[in-house]
Symmetry: C2
DNA sequence: ACCTGGCACTCGAACATGGCGAGTGCCAAT
DNA sequence: ATTGGCACTCGCCATGTTCGAGTGCCAGGT
């Protein structure tokens, strides 16, 4: 096992490298951190750390830089989550409080995260699966044509056209609307299917076809809308990545345009716990030189969606994690209020 | 005035430079295009063109590159719009035909444009100002709390909460809903205000306050939603910009994140005609080394929104303009069908 | 009046050279 | 186990040199 001091050396290397973006040597290390030992000792420790795969040299006789494995150890064992300063917290709250609707909340959140972390921010729209129904509306546009509108507790609105197999009178529409609402308002999307299952039976035979069609559309909406949307921002921060630009930045921009990739990226994170994926731990190879910090957020105690940032593996993990966690909390509060 | 041949030389310079991305000299020019004159003559012509400000040398004794003014002349006088090949046209149609809803149409369009032009694509959502109302719905959520839902002919749905000054019965809700719809369905948003102006008067005194509030919210929605949304894509294509990366790409990425800037950019274009803004012609200085090609598109004969691309001033103007125009047409068709 | 070939000149790109300094690994001493 | 010393490695940078594309100008030809 690695001695206490060796870990301390690794921590120092990570911190210095994150700060300077340059390989760090033994001498510079002893000067900047008072480790209480000489450069030579540090050199020996470095040799061991390198042998174990935690650090590497970009080329012979240069300083060392942490490997993915090194960052992993740093994040798991050596670093905490740095809480934000209270002015920062206040700024977050003020900024998010100004939001007028869901789109605005998500938009502000993404800008906020990008600004705080100076990295690329990704915010997933609150998922419908765990949301609850605020209202279901049914409108008759034509004798055999209805519009179904679904409103969630997170303020999202979905609408679908329904072509009925048979004309469906206004009173029937009102009837169905009332019964639907009485059953599903306040319930979770996941529970809706079994709540409306027996609804067609309570209608006249001639209307059952239409009722079934409406229900089918409703359920379909639930499923389809589980394919989630997201918003990204702060891509300009990618320009701070490195000096070997085009090669690094291109695949990242490409990956960011593939919403599917990003959703998978966020999805991999376990539930609401904060997840850090470092370098090659990311499945998508365009993101092999980036790290992803993600966490769930939600209006209640449970997470309804995820948010996070994508940045270079050489990032300030404690600070980033702090910002991500803080933003997630405040967004949760905002959603709970509305 | 510039002689025919000098214009021909300019055209050749633009074409070569766009192709090779390298300053083009007199010798190379005569080799690649059969201008029928010697390099020396071309040199003289170049000297004139430079004096007039159409071309410039990056440094002494290097080839010439077109200036913004040179591109402007090229676009105005020397280049046409290159029609797409028929396989390309078919591909566009097939790709767009698969769209399921408005978001999908816009999403597909942006990807398509980015792919065709290999540049950054921007597509504005169909504007509400010129849209017509498909349906207005009013729901009673609580005795003094209504929800207003607005559905446009382009498939967009907007919803607002309305807190009433006084309780408002179900029958009144139904009444207002019916009257509202009979007046505004099928009408343009711009015409709505005067169509509903006198509506409160026809209600009982006790309900007038609520009716006015509802109408105010409706009008407010119209105004607010005139602040339009847009979608961008193909940012990865920015990496093909130049070799002097970070400096060029950064301000562009920043500008692209400012939706306001982009909307203004598109908005400047006159109506549905195709507009090309080259380099410094763009007001925003982050975009001083880019050109913007934009055109209006719409479901009918009138433009409801704009779409376009942002790329380096050194771009294939005829090809880009062709792609932009073609995509706009097909999107218009798709919207008209739905 | 215009075009052309020739010529001297300029200047950036590419490559080579060499000194500098940071950093390393190893070793003998404590 | 830690330390100071020392020889060595290697990338970086500044300098120097060559090479070639491109230019401007001029004198001669049509």
């Amino acid at each position: 096992m690695l001695s206490e001091r060796r870990l301390e050396v690794l921590r120092a290397i990570v911190q210095d490298y994150v700060g300077t973006e340059e390989p760090v040597g033994s001498k510079a290390l002893t000067e900047r951190h008072n480790l209480g030992v000489s450069p030579a000792t540090v050199r020996n420790d470095m040799a061991v750390l390198e042998e174990e795969g935690f650090i590497a040299q970009p080329h012979t006789s240069a300083g060392r830089i942490p490997t993915d494995k090194g960052y992993r150890l740093f994040v798991d064992k050596l670093a905490g989550v740095k809480p934000l300063s209270s002015p920062e917290r206040r700024a977050i709250q003020n900024f998010l409080d100004g939001a007028v609707d869901l789109d605005d909340v998500v938009g502000r959140t993404v800008r906020l995260l990008a600004q705080l972390t100076r990295q690329v921010a990704i915010v997933q729209y609150p998922s419908l699966t765990r949301s609850t129904v605020r209202h279901v509306e049914l409108l008759s546009l034509a004798p055999a044509r209805l519009m179904l509108v679904l409103i969630t507790d997170t303020g999202r609105v979905e609408q679908r056209m329904v072509d009925c197999p048979a004309p469906f009178g206004e009173t029937s529409v009102a009837d169905l609307r009332a019964r639907l609402n009485s059953r599903v308002v306040g319930r979770r999307f996941a529970d809706v299917p079994k709540l409306v299952q027996d609804l067609p039976e309570s209608f006249e035979t001639e209307d059952r076809g239409t009722v079934s069609t409406v229900l089918a559309t409703l359920l379909e909406t639930l499923v389809e809308e589980t394919e989630e949307r997201l918003m990204i921002g702060g891509t300009a921060n990618l320009t701070r990545f490195g000096h070997d630009f085009p090669l690094t930045i291109r695949p990242v921009l490409e990956a960011l345009e593939e919403q599917v990739v990003l959703l998978k990226l966020l999805g991999e994170a376990k539930d609401s716990a904060m997840t850090v994926r470092i370098g090659h731990e990311n499945a998508h190879e365009g993101l092999n030189s980036t790290s992803v910090v993600a966490v769930g957020y939600g209006s209640g105690d449970e997470a309804v969606a995820k948010l996070g940032v994508v940045g270079p593996t050489r990032m300030d993990y404690p600070g980033t994690m702090g910002a991500v966690r803080a933003v997630a909390r405040y967004v949760g509060q905002i959603l709970a209020e509305s």
